[in-house]
């Protein structure tokens, strides 16, 4: 017989994990959608957010404010880092082809990791508790309150982002630039500004993801962004890279698959199964689950 409470717990944990992946995947997908570039440094923005949280939470608590308020500082720091990376490293290679862009992104990822290593040392820092919430009983399942609250935050942010992209002028411009850069310039969109804003939003989402991640796994180290970023990227590709709802869908799928494989199938194999699903999906539908097939012109 299926254990109902374990099942519910797994679903909540999966959604919680999935919401983190989805937030990170959004950053990847928005950047890819706009400049066709895999921003490998994106995972390291989470690391930046993690360290910012580690250093600012005690300050916040001392100042008598709730710990989660430090996410505001994390958002600011991540946004500055993200925009700086874009301006200094990515902008000069934008015209030089995808190979250069990819290598520059890898190099920036290396740079951020090693800068953190020099600044903060190799020992992982344990981030203080962010949310002090009791366990919640639901249909016999014990659910950690912080898992529920991160899930709610994640869903709310995705909803807000969707509204922003769909209905505001800036959002419309962000959708227009990937479709046709020249035409967007013609109708008066400042493409460079839009790209910078995309990076800013993506990095801010990474900061929120850092908060959610650290509330579940309270450790900050220099390599925390690598695997998280890779998996979130897999999620973005799975859902259809460049498509915002695709990133959310992909993130949730990856999160649920990981938790369910861990709990029910084979704990050691969960990563392999996620990657296996990705390969199968890409082979059947090369642009991802929600992706549109675009024919190539000769």
């Amino acid at each position: 017989m299926l254990n109902v409470s374990l099942f519910i717990q797994s679903i909540v944990n999966g959604l919680n994990q999935g919401a983190v992946y989805a937030l990170v995947a959004l950053g990847y997908t928005m950047v890819y959608g706009i400049i066709r570039m895999i921003n490998f440094a994106h995972g390291d923005f989470i690391m930046v957010g993690g360290y910012t949280l580690f250093y600012t939470i005690p300050l916040m608590v001392n100042a008598g404010m709730p710990a989660w308020m430090s996410v505001i500082i994390a958002i600011a720091v991540c946004t500055i880092v993200g925009v700086a990376v874009e301006r200094i490293a990515y902008k000069p290679v934008r015209g030089a082809g995808s190979m250069s862009a990819l290598i520059t992104a890898l190099a920036m990822s290396l740079f951020l990791e090693n800068l953190a290593l020099v600044l903060f040392g190799a020992n992982p820092k344990s981030v203080p508790a962010i949310f002090n919430l009791p366990m919640i009983d639901f249909a016999g399942a014990k659910l950690p309150g912080k898992a529920l609250i991160t899930l709610v935050i994640g869903l709310a942010i995705m909803l807000l982002l969707q509204i922003f992209i769909k209905f505001t002028k800036l959002g419309k411009a962000m959708r227009a630039v990937p479709q046709d850069k020249q035409a967007s310039t013609l109708v008066g969109i400042n493409v460079n500004k839009i790209i910078t804003i995309t990076f800013a939003i993506g990095s801010a989402l990474a900061a929120v993801a850092a908060l959610m991640y650290c509330s579940t796994y309270p450790r900050a180290n220099t390599e925390m962004g690598v695997m998280l970023g890779l998996k979130a990227f897999i999620a973005a590709v799975l859902g259809g890279i460049g498509i915002i709802p695709g990133a959310m869908l992909g993130g949730i799928i990856v999160g649920l698959v990981e938790i369910f494989v861990k709990v029910y199938l084979a704990p050691g194999w969960y990563e392999a199964i996620t990657y296996g699903i990705l390969i199968v999906v890409l082979l059947v539908k090369p642009t991802g689950i929600l992706g549109k097939n675009i024919g190539e012109k000769v």
């Binding site: 890819y32 066709r36 895999i38 490998f40 490293a89 000069p92 290679v93 030089a96 082809g97 995808s98 190979m99 250069s100 990819l102 290598i103 520059t104 890898l106 190099a107 920036m108 290396l110 740079f111 990791e113 090693n114 800068l115 290593l117 020099v118 690598v226 890779l230 990227f233 897999i234 590709v237 890279i241 084979a266 050691g268 194999w269 990563e271 392999a272 990657y275 296996g276 990705l278 390969i279 890409l282 082979l283 090369p286 190539e296 000769v298």
Partner: protein, 331 residues
């Protein structure tokens, strides 16, 4: 001019022997004193990195597709060859033969894997292909972490130390020469044509999929050779060594040296693999500098330091002796 060609081959062969002579001089005559074992290790790692980077250059530089999972193929070569040599550990096979067996096993198993991965994966292009190669490498890593025969997540140890620096040099030369001959052949020209414009290539009768799978398989095969050398040099390993970070390290070496240049790959691989050892005191700043250099090279010289330039011993000799005729390239 066949006779001229023969002379050129001879000159190149002498050049290779000369480098080997220098290697022997420094490593075997005791001129370096006590540090010789340490330096021998650095040279071995540099030599196998040359094989890795040149083979990755086949896919990345000459075929124009990213592969971010090359370390995965390396691990397949490493594990398959060590499983075989561990099984043969009690037999009385001489070390040199065992080394050859290990390399052949690594090469064959990895080539088969590369072929099986390549057929479906090479339907994809660009970033998607890069992602699939990452995914394959990660699956391989997780699988090796779980199989009992590969150590089950623990260190696989007790592998015989067979990778003698002299053998490795010979293997490296053979690998690079084969890859060079492949690229200079009819097949190689077809591969380069696909890189330039695959639609034009396929409309002039090149079977794009065949050539891509062939190149990918060859590239994977040599990664397997490098893996076999690595395993029999380190004598113990864990699957997590061959992670995404390792793959991206090799890719950056290819790009930094010059995608589409064997010279670039060889120099890039030897310098960049030896550098960490030489700059051990500045370990944490080294990677920082490395990434900054990488970004600067990408901004100011997007084709890599050597671009598509190839070093040619013949050309150098001709310049020295004042005869200015085009000649064959040295590897």
């Amino acid at each position: 001019m066949p006779k001229n060609k023969k002379v050129e081959y001879l000159i190149n062969f002498v050049g290779i022997l000369a480098v080997f002579g220098i290697l022997v001089f420094f490593l075997d005559t005791g001129i370096l004193g006590k540090q010789v074992n340490y330096i021998r290790g650095i040279v071995t790692i540099a030599l196998l990195t040359i094989i890795m980077v040149t083979s990755l250059n086949l896919t990345t530089g000459f075929m124009g597709e990213f592969s971010l999972g090359h370390a995965g193929f390396m691990s397949i070569g490493a594990y398959s060859s060590s499983i075989v040599t561990l099984a043969l550990a009690d037999s009385n096979i001489p070390n040199m033969l065992l080394f050859i067996i290990a390399i052949i096993v690594g090469a064959v198993v990895t080539a088969i894997m590369g072929f099986l991965v390549g057929i479906p994966a090479l339907r994809l292009k660009g970033d998607y292909l890069a992602i699939v190669t990452v995914a394959v490498a990660e699956i391989v890593r997780v699988a090796f972490c779980n199989f009992a025969i590969t150590g089950g997540g623990k260190t696989l140890s007790g592998i015989k130390k067979l990778s003698d620096v002299h053998y490795v040099y010979v293997v490296m030369i053979i690998c690079v020469v084969i890859m060079y001959m492949f690229i200079r052949s009819r097949f190689g020209r077809a591969v380069k044509a696909i890189r330039e414009d695959y639609i034009a290539a396929s409309s002039s009768g090149i079977n794009v999929t065949n050539y891509k799978v062939m190149t990918f398989t060859i590239s994977a095969m040599f990664a397997g050779v490098a893996g076999a050398i690595y395993a029999h040099y380190m004598t113990a390993m864990i699957p997590n060594t061959f992670s995404f970070m390792k793959s991206s390290e090799y890719l950056t070496m290819v790009i930094l040296g010059g995608s589409g240049s064997f010279t670039g790959s060889i120099i890039g691989a030897s310098v960049l693999s030896a550098l960490p050892e030489l700059l051990r005191d500045f370990a944490s700043y080294r990677m920082l500098m490395y990434s900054v250099v990488l970004v600067l090279v990408m901004i100011f010289r997007p084709g890599g330091i050597f671009g598509t330039y190839e070093f040619s011993l013949i050309r150098v000799l001709k310049k020295v002796f004042g005869k200015n005729k085009g000649g064959a390239d040295n590897e």
